[in-house]
Amino acid sequence: MPHRLGMECLDSPPQFQIGMQESTRKVTKNIGFLTVRHHELHGFFGGYLIVNELARPLEFHCTLPILPTRAQQILYGNTLNEFVCGEQIARALVTKAKTIPDALLADSLAVLTLRHMHSVPIGFIDTLQAGDSGMNRPASGRTEYRRFKALGHPMAVLPEYESDCGFFSSLFAQGKPPLDLLEPFGRIEEALQEAHPATKAA
């Protein structure tokens, strides 16, 4: 007995240059949450949820599973996860979104390389553990990060973008947002399991 819901499926999302629409940002605080998970059999999955300041979802995007090629494994070595998570999956997700958020939060350090090709500050926030799915959080081969705390949460940014620390601190300090900064990652993980049922833990 399903009923029609008012959700629009984006079959052909608009393509645009990442980070070129700074001037069109809204005044309200929209935050994008990026998750990349690795499944032993199916490879890497990405999910991207943009919520408004009331935590209501504005957009959701997820990738089809991808397996790195042998060439990528050889060429990127121990930076493979940064390449796949940040430059491939996260980049694809933020490119497809209509809404440009004020900030991006990721629960994996490997995603932070997106910052090299995206103007919106992106910070890692430690969610301590992934959900109870059969998917893991990809590790990062890099060891140097600029670490700080915001709203009591351990966070990190790429050291090349140290000014992002101040950005996040001031962003969260301004409005004391009612947003739970960790909870949306749980939603993404459940959505990934809905979209890719084969990844559900037995």
Binding site: M1, P2, H3, L5, G6, M7, E8, C9, L10, P13, G46, L49, V51, N52, L54, A55, R56, P57, L58, E59, F60, H61, C62, T63, L64, I66, T69, R70, A71, I74, L75, Q88, I89, R91, A92, L93, T95, K96, A97, K98, K149, L151, G152, H153, K176, P177, P178, L179, D180, L181, L182, E183, P184, G186, R187, I188, E190, A191, E194, A195
Partner: protein, 611 residues
């Protein structure tokens, strides 16, 4: 990767599949394969035995052969939520919501706080979250993700600035999260756990989210005022329309678009169902309170209720099964016609209904709620009663036996009722073992400043008790009390310390009343159905009760009451079996055979219908 510059003396030749001249092609040994998403392939073969290579020409600097990796990004699926910005309460709501002043009823109450609350920045409190999960019958991915990606209920409540008279219990939030996404649902919580509040809050949130525009709530007539009161308490900003008055007025109310929630009673639906069809009314949601009222699917009430045009259907009942699984099947005919069949195996039934029914019991969710203390009062009849009883039973059985094949279930019922009345009072002398016990107990109740509810199935019995218990200033609440005076009776019982006792019939007092200030319940006689008895008991044992509720079940030993008691216990087993999904019950209810069997009679051959 292979690096040609590392060989100083005899430089190796690299053979590739895409460059043949002037190089020779040799795919003999180790090969690296490169493959990108766009299908480009490159094979680089390197033979570690350099001696087999020979220069075809003079020394040349090695050519650089770039391997192009595809820059194609992964494919994505995307969804937008166009209605999200609309999710805010109407301006008037924020103004009209009364401040939360009452204290929470429990220290374990859910706390709706953001994670940054608190003075210590390093301490991140982990707030409790209740997720809305998509129902099993939602198939399309975008429909399922719509619910999966909604924020937790606590966040929705907080962001919409909704206030409650007191903080809902966690299990109540779970109940709201259960109802919110469902087109078809039965909220079957045990009486007293707050089904009304959960339904109202779900309706409130769905109205605010724009998913509902108009709702019809159907309840028993005596409960209309109770629903109005609960709506005022839990959703004061929602305009209500009560279907009442003469035909012209009702016609106007039905078509009034100003009130998104309309409340009608079952009896009235019998008269007004044609208006619905004539006016072409359609409801986004129809909620049935005390949905066991449609347990007989062939009754006109059930047929009329099922014909109401609607999108969503919810049923609220503490007793989805009163007699047999057919009761549940009938309710599902309202929710999802044809989904269940009477002949389904109990385990199949349990599996099929699992996603549609939410049932919690007090012992599971309210571990800190004061308990119900059952005190069976198994009494010997007085000598007068015993003599009358013996005579009536023997005469009755002889009469039934003499009727042979012409005996009907009504004849048996008549005898049962006559015997049960003798168990209450001797018809000649008025002697009553139950009353003696009751008077003794009430002295203690009154002396401790407490109040008591006394249930009987007969108004005549209640009127006798009214005379015999006059010193406790009893009040009466039953079918002969006009409905417009009943609220006043409850108020008086609650507020006047002189009135220590209220006398209630099961029919009028079993549902919808909140008497949790009362800690003693007496079942002067037993109803046919344990579910109705439970409802009666739970008038007192419900949310907000501060002390244990003592329930005294009176039963005359070695009488028809004891035999009925045994059957009732079997019914209770049936109910527990279905919802525990374990095993199969010994007996599916009080059937015709068992009713005849109360007197050792056999069912006449021509009577095959169930009672």
């Amino acid at each position: 990767m292979y690096d040609p510059s590392s060989h100083d003396i005899q430089r190796p030749v690299i053979h590739t599949s895409w460059s043949c001249e002037p190089w020779k092609v040799d795919f003999a040994e180790s090969t690296f394969s490169f493959e990108d998403e766009d299908g480009t392939q490159a094979n680089v073969q390197i033979n570690p035995d350099l001696s087999q290579y020979k220069l075809d020409s003079l020394w040349q600097a090695p050519r650089v052969l770039p391997i192009q990796l595809s820059q194609t990004l992964p494919k994505t699926i995307g969804f937008t939520f166009p209605e999200s910005p609309q999710w805010t309460p109407p301006a008037s709501a924020k103004e009209s919501v009364p401040p939360s002043t009452s204290k929470p009823p429990s220290k374990d109450l859910l706390t709706v706080t953001s994670s940054d609350e608190g003075s210590d920045e390093d301490q991140v409190a982990k707030p409790r979250i209740t997720r809305i999960r998509p129902p099993g019958d939602l198939v399309r991915l975008e429909d399922r993700l719509y619910y999966v990606l909604q924020p937790p209920l606590e966040t929705l409540v907080q962001s919409a600035k909704l206030t409650f008279p007191f903080q809902p219990f966690p299990y109540q939030m779970e109940g709201i999260a259960f109802l919110f996404p469902r087109s078809a649902a039965i909220l079957a919580d045990e009486m007293g756990l707050g089904k009304t509040m959960q339904a109202i809050t779900s309706i409130r949130m769905l109205l605010l989210s724009g998913e509902l525009q108009n709702v019809l709530l159907v309840c028993p007539k005596p409960l209309v005022t109770n629903w109005m009161r609960e709506f005022r308490q839990w959703a004061p900003e929602i305009p209500l329309a009560i279907i009442e008055g003469d035909s012209a007025k009702r016609n106007w109310i039905w078509t009034n678009p100003q009130a998104p929630v309309k409340i009608a009673n079952y009896e009235l639906m019998m008269r007004d169902h044609e208006i619905l069809h004539e006016q072409g009314l359609h409801f986004d949601l129809v909620v049935l309170d005390e949905a066991q009222r449609i347990k007989n699917r062939n009754s006109s009430t059930s047929e009329i209720i099922r014909s109401i045009p609607r999108t969503r259907s919810w049923a609220l009942t503490g007793t989805p099964i009163e007699n047999s699984v057919e009761d549940l099947v009938s309710i599902f005919e309202f929710l999802s016609p044809g989904y269940l069949r009477d002949d389904m195996h109990l385990k199949s039934l349990g599996k099929a209904t699992r996603d549609y029914i939410l049932r919690r019991t007090k012992d599971k969710v309210l571990t800190d709620m004061p308990p119900k203390l059952f005190r069976p009062a198994e009494l010997e009849l007085t000598s007068d009663q015993r003599a009358s009883y013996k005579s009536a039973e023997e005469d009755g059985i002889i009469q039934l036996s003499e009727m042979a094949e012409s005996v009907t279930i009504h004849h048996v019922f008549e005898l049962v009722l006559r015997l049960k009345q003798i168990c209450n009072f001797d018809p000649v002398t008025g002697a009553s073992a139950k009353l003696e016990r009751l008077e003794a107990d009430l002295e203690e109740v009154a002396a401790s400043g407490q109040k008591a509810i006394i249930f009987s199935q007969w108004v005549e019995t209640l009127e006798v008790l009214n005379e015999r218990l006059a010193k406790y200033h009893p009040l009466q609440y039953h079918g002969r009390i006009p409905s417009n005076k009943r609220d006043g009776v409850i108020d008086q019982f609650k507020n006047n310390p002189k009135n220590k006792v209220i006398l209630m019939s099961y029919g009028a007092g079993a549902v919808g009343l909140n008497l949790q200030f009362c800690h003693y319940v007496f079942l002067f006689d037993r109803w046919w159905n344990p579910a109705v008895e439970d409802q009666a008991i739970n008038r007192a044992h419900r949310l907000g009760v501060k002390q244990p509720v003592t329930v005294t079940r009176m039963m005359s030993l070695e009488t028809i009451e004891q035999r009925i008691h045994d059957v009732l216990e079997q019914k209770r087993d049936l109910f527990n079996t279905l919802f525990a999904e374990t095993g199969t019950p010994q007996n599916l209810g009080l059937n015709q055979k068992e009713i005849f069997g109360l007197f050792g009679l056999n069912v006449p051959k021509y009577q095959v219908k169930a009672a």
